[in-house]
């Protein structure tokens, strides 16, 4: 057994323990330990990335790599069988990109946090806890474990915004907390429903005596258990209920008669209950993505959060939303995914356009960047809704690329805020004259984000749009006009970035008179080069050599998409037919 995934998850936690033991006064040491912890995590992530075999397709119980499965909580429910929670982590093509992203951004975030002076120990402690929970989220294959990490993310973030944020930080922190908690409560409802409906075929086979305890998963035995289950031949006392996500992905593992079974035929508010479950899960993750109309916490949180926290929030935390959709929502409820593709895609396009229009209207540079995040994350929803190979690959690519680029954007905003303690666009003009290097990075970040060919943003948008346009023929999912509208989003993003660039950086140098006293406008220092340059290189690298990432992700993503599409159409018919019956 291989412990690389556990090391990835718990390295930051270990560093956090060391930080906890260090005295408050040793600020240098605290920072050094944090940096070391994140560096180790990054090295592990890169190592994992290279050792990961991109040609293997993860399907059902098999095919996840570096799997660790340990028995965690098991409890007999008497006549209702057993319930089981495992420490079950594994990596496949979908999560590998996110893990790599987390590793990189974790280090960049620490470099950007170097100037924190207020309550250093508390800050880095929370920072490390946050990293642990995000990594855990990306690697968990047990829904309970996923939910644990998912919820635990909120708390450090709440304090990071609320204690180290800007003037309205308390409001922003509580808004963030309540919004995302409500989202996770929706998820909790469905999680409970799923766990009462799904069995672990292997453990049930052990319970039935078909294979010996600790025996390897014999495909025949599992198939036999699934057949027996569907023919009502497994007594409920022998069923082992599970939170395992791969088990939930197979319709054959659902207990006949349970509410979420494809043939349950239960309706609620004129919709099959599986569709309701899908909508609840979708709502929960859409808050995190965030999609319009539940995005309103994001601008507040971003504007009030300190720069490194904004970076983490935009680059990694938002991805948990998209990742949850791809890992959990679509594979488990492919039928509803196919049925609601127009809704998901429509919300995606709405986010693209509405976010871009908002960004166009913003005077605060950080708000502009925040709304551009909303706009770009809309592409993830669109790509996913298309259920085409290109579209979903594009969605995953978008999450990775947006992680790199949005981190850069927020860092760039932080740089000007550090110098002038202000980031209103109209208060600056001609910054290119005094800060040439800074302006170069701003231009790189802006152009990467608006999708200039050669940057990673271009690849992802291209793939998503290709997917969207081919969807009507290939999968019959989205109407073509929706994708046409999405293209206007590209135009709008070019507009707000170029306009901001023109207003702030070009022309004669001028800054707002009241700012002059406090502001010391100097070009980038070494630390800022250190955090911006790698991101710029990465944005370029993944723009020029998309295969670097696609080689690792595309087999798994394509397999997942085709499976979802195929299962979706089959199950959709079953669900609808069971209603008529």
């Amino acid at each position: 057994m291989n412990f690389i995934l556990s090391s990835l998850i718990f390295t930051p936690l270990l560093a956090a323990l060391v930080v906890l033991l260090l005295p408050v006064r040793r600020q240098k040491a605290i920072k050094a330990v944090t940096l070391l912890g994140t560096l180790v995590q990054m090295v592990l992530a890169i190592l994992l990335y290279f050792r990961f075999d991109g040609s293997a397709f993860a399907n059902g119980q098999q095919g996840y790599q570096f799997v660790e499965k340990l028995h965690w909580i098991g409890f007999s429910l008497g006549t209702l069988g057993r319930f089981q929670i495992d420490y079950f982590v594994g990596v496949d093509g979908i999560s590998i990109s996110m893990v790599l992203l987390t590793g990189i951004i974790g280090v960049i975030g620490v470099i950007s946090s170097w100037t924190i002076t207020k309550n250093v120990k508390g800050y880095f402690l929370l920072y490390l806890l946050l990293l642990t929970s995000v990594t855990g989220c990306f690697l968990a294959l047990d829904f309970f474990l996923f939910y644990l990490f998912f919820e635990f993310m909120l708390l450090p973030m709440y304090f990071l915004i609320g204690l180290w944020g800007g003037p309205k930080r308390e409001y922003a922190a509580i808004k963030f907390f309540i919004y995302t908690l409500v989202g996770s409560l929706f998820i909790l409802i469905v999680m409970i429903g799923l766990y009462t409906s799904v069995i672990d075929p292997q453990a049930t086979a052990v319970q039935l005596g078909l294979i010996g305890a600790g025996g390897t998963a014999a495909p025949n035995a599992i198939l036999q258990v699934q057949q027996m289950l569907q023919q009502n031949m497994v007594s409920s006392a022998d069923m082992v209920r599970t939170f395992s996500i791969p088990a939930m992905m197979e319709p054959a593992n659902f207990i006949p008669g349970s509410l979420l079974h494809v043939l349950s035929g239960v309706e609620l508010w004129y919709l099959p209950i599986r569709f309701i479950a899908f909508l609840l899960l979708f709502a929960g993750f859409a808050i995190k993505v965030p999609s319009v109309p539940v995005h309103t916490w994001l601008p507040d949180a971003h504007v009030e959060a300190p720069t490194p926290v904004s970076v983490l929030l935009a680059a990694i935390l938002l991805k948990v939303g998209g990742y949850g959709l791809i890992r959990i929502v679509y594979p488990i409820f492919p039928d509803a995914g196919a049925y609601f593709s127009i809704l998901v895609g429509g919300l995606g396009v709405l986010s693209i356009i509405y976010g871009a229009l908002n960004a166009l209207a913003m005077n605060d540079l950080k708000k502009l960047v925040a709304y551009s995040s909303v706009s770009h994350m809309g592409f993830v929803l669109l790509g996913l809704a298309s259920l085409t190979t290109e579209g979903v690959n594009g969605a995953v690519y978008m999450m990775f690329s947006h992680g790199i680029i949005s981190a850069m954007l927020f860092l760039v905003v932080g740089v000007i805020y550090d110098r002038a303690h202000d980031r209103a666009i109209q208060n600056f003009r001609g910054l290119a004259k005094v800060m040439p290097a800074y302006t170069t990075f701003v231009i790189i970040a802006f152009f990467a984000s608006l999708g200039l060919p050669g940057f990673s943003g271009f690849i992802s948008e291209l793939l998503v749009l290709l997917g969207g346009f081919s969807a009507p023929e290939a999968t019959g999912m989205l109407p073509r006009w929706l994708t046409v509208v999405a293209v206007f989003g590209l135009l709008l993003s070019a507009a707000y970035y170029l306009w901001a660039l023109q207003r702030m950086f070009f022309g004669k140098y001028w800054i707002f008179p009241e700012l002059r006293a406090k502001a010391t406008i100097t070009d980038l220092n070494f630390r800022e080069y250190l955090m911006l340059a790698p991101l710029a290189v990465l944005a370029l690298l993944f723009g020029i050599l998309p295969n670097l990432l696609l080689d690792k992700i595309s087999v798994a993503v394509t397999g997942m998409t085709q499976l979802t599409l195929q299962n979706g159409q089959e199950q959709l018919e079953l669900v609808l037919s069971s209603l008529i019956r």
Binding site: I73, G74, F75, S76, L77, G78, T79, L80, F83, N119, G122, Y147, L148, E151, F152, L154, L155, F159, G162, L163, R169, E170, A173, I174, F177, I178, L181, V182, L185, L188, I189, I192, G193, Y195, T196, S197, G257, S258, L259, V266, L268
Partner: protein, 501 residues
């Protein structure tokens, strides 16, 4: 004459045979009498000894019930009291609650300054625990009534411990008034049951069969009347009005005890009482009443807590909302909900004693009366602040704390029951219960909000006693352990329950 003598000796021998069932209660009664007697002496050293004696008694009762060798579990005392696994586990919880109460009382400033009645205070705690034990063991309605009254009378006096304070007197008066009213209503309902079934032995099969034959409307009315008394004990809507005032007026350890002990005992009594009402067809109205009561309790508890300005009142409504969760769990008919409920009660015990200990420290050392008075305390005392945060998150029901597992178990039972019956009331309870967690976060988070986000009011550093710190850490540790390994406790509960069924 001879006949009478024979009858008498018969009775005496059955009493002797069944006395084993009552061993923990006898022990508690003995220590109660010991405390009352010793309290008569004026010697200071004896007075100092009293709390420790009370602790000894409670510990002894705890150990007896944990090891439980004193009865086979199936025998009953005159068909009145039954010492089955449920009662045994509940007894463990009550003894633990009593022990925690005494430990908290030892640290309490207001009690330290109390000029008279300290011995009586500890004796009454023993009395109350004794009453709770009897509640959990009763299988006869009359015995239930007597046990509840024992608990109530001890509670009334404990509320009035700080007689000099006006709010204590007000709280005591309200408590007595509501208490007697609900007791009267409950007794009235019990008389209905006696009339309808001819039996007071409410866990027997005959009782359940007679209920099925009786007029449904009358049974429903009678059940609602009896529930009035139970709801008073667990502070469920609409019998929760005493809670905020009593929580405001009583000493902190007593509040902690009220928020756990009588609530746990009330739930155990309801657990036994609802067993005949599981038939969804015959007793639809009773179930509807319980469902609506649970919904109302959840809603009133959570939404009213939003407006509270003092931590004590906030916790009162929080305790109402927990009663709502417990009632929700009780409605999952057809599933094995008993172990989930008992697990939730255990978690509640640790959460509530933890948070009330924190409030006691805050009140005694920092004069915290309003929520705003918490400002900056968490920054000044990180240990205190972080632990308070843990308790509050557990009360909200967030991972990684045991409160989450408790809610998860209860809601999975409700979902399971919904699968079986497709009763939309259960679905409503499930969705409401889970979504109200979001509301709950909003008021619980107010305390950490002031603790950490607001500036310091004072800069003086006070020393918090080591025993307080240890106790705080212990409660928090229990919550963490019960999150990461809930099966340790659940297996034991399940064992106890199956042993005696």
């Amino acid at each position: 004459m001879n006949e009478q003598a024979a009858y008498l000796s018969d009775t005496i021998s059955t009493i002797k045979a069944g006395a084993g069932v009552l061993l923990p209660e006898l022990l508690l009664a003995f220590f109660f009498l010991l405390l009352v007697t010793l309290d008569l002496f004026k010697s200071r050293s004896i007075k100092q000894l009293l709390p420790w004696l009370a602790l000894t008694g409670l510990f002894a009762a705890l150990l007896i019930q944990v090891y439980g060798g004193y009865s086979s579990g199936k025998e009953s005392f005159l068909d009145m009291l039954l010492s089955d696994g449920l009662a045994r586990y509940a007894g463990v919880l009550f003894s633990a609650a009593g022990i925690f109460t005494v430990l908290l009382s030892l640290q309490n400033k207001a009690l330290e300054n109390l000029r008279q009645g300290r011995g009586e205070y500890y004796a009454l705690i023993l009395m109350l625990v004794l009453g709770l034990n009897l509640m959990a063991k009763s299988v006869n309605l009359l015995m239930v009534f007597l046990a509840i009254e024992t608990v109530s009378i001890a509670s009334y006096i404990l509320t009035l411990t700080l007689k000099e304070e006006k709010r204590a007197v007000e709280a005591g008066l309200k408590y007595v008034l509501y208490g007697t009213l609900s007791a009267g209503v409950m007794l009235y309902g019990m008389s209905f049951f006696y009339g309808l079934t001819g039996s007071l032995h409410y866990t027997s099969e005959g009782f359940a069969l007679a209920l099925l034959r009786a007029d449904t409307l009358l049974v429903t009315v009678a059940a609602i009347l009896v529930f009035a008394g139970f709801f008073f004990k667990i502070s469920a809507v609409p019998f929760h009005f005493w809670a905020p005032d009593v929580y405001q007026g009583a000493p902190m350890p007593v509040v902690a005890l009220f928020s756990t002990g009588p609530k746990m005992a009330g739930i155990v009594v309801i657990l036994r009482f609802v067993a005949p009402f599981t038939d969804a067809l015959a007793f639809r109205d009773v179930q509807l009443f319980l469902g609506i009561a649970a919904l109302a309790t959840l809603a009133v508890g959570n939404f009213t807590a939003l407006w509270q300005q003092t931590p004590r009142r906030l916790m009162a409504y929080s305790s109402v909302s927990h009663a709502g969760f417990l009632l929700t769990g009780l409605l999952a008919f057809g599933t094995d909900y008993t172990s989930s409920i008992l697990f939730y009660l255990t978690v509640l015990l640790f959460m509530n004693f933890g948070i009330f200990l924190f409030l006691q420290i805050a009140e005694d050392a920092f004069k915290v009366e309003k929520l705003a008075d918490f400002s900056g305390l968490g920054r000044l005392y990180p240990y205190l602040g972080v632990l308070a945060l843990l308790y509050l998150l557990s009360l909200t029901g967030l991972p990684p704390l045991a409160g989450f597992v408790g809610k998860l178990l209860i809601f999975s039972n409700v979902w399971e029951a919904y699968t079986l019956t497709q009763n939309s009331l259960l679905l409503a309870l499930l969705v409401t219960g889970i979504l109200l967690t979001g509301v709950a976060l909003f008021y619980y988070i107010k305390i950490p909000f002031y603790l950490f986000f607001k500036g310091n009011q004072t800069d003086e550093k006070l020393v918090i006693s080591l025993s307080d710190k240890l106790l705080l850490g212990l409660f928090a540790l229990a919550l963490l352990v019960l999150f990461f390994k809930p099966d340790l406790l659940l297996t034991w509960i399940e064992q106890l329950l199956t042993q005696t069924l």
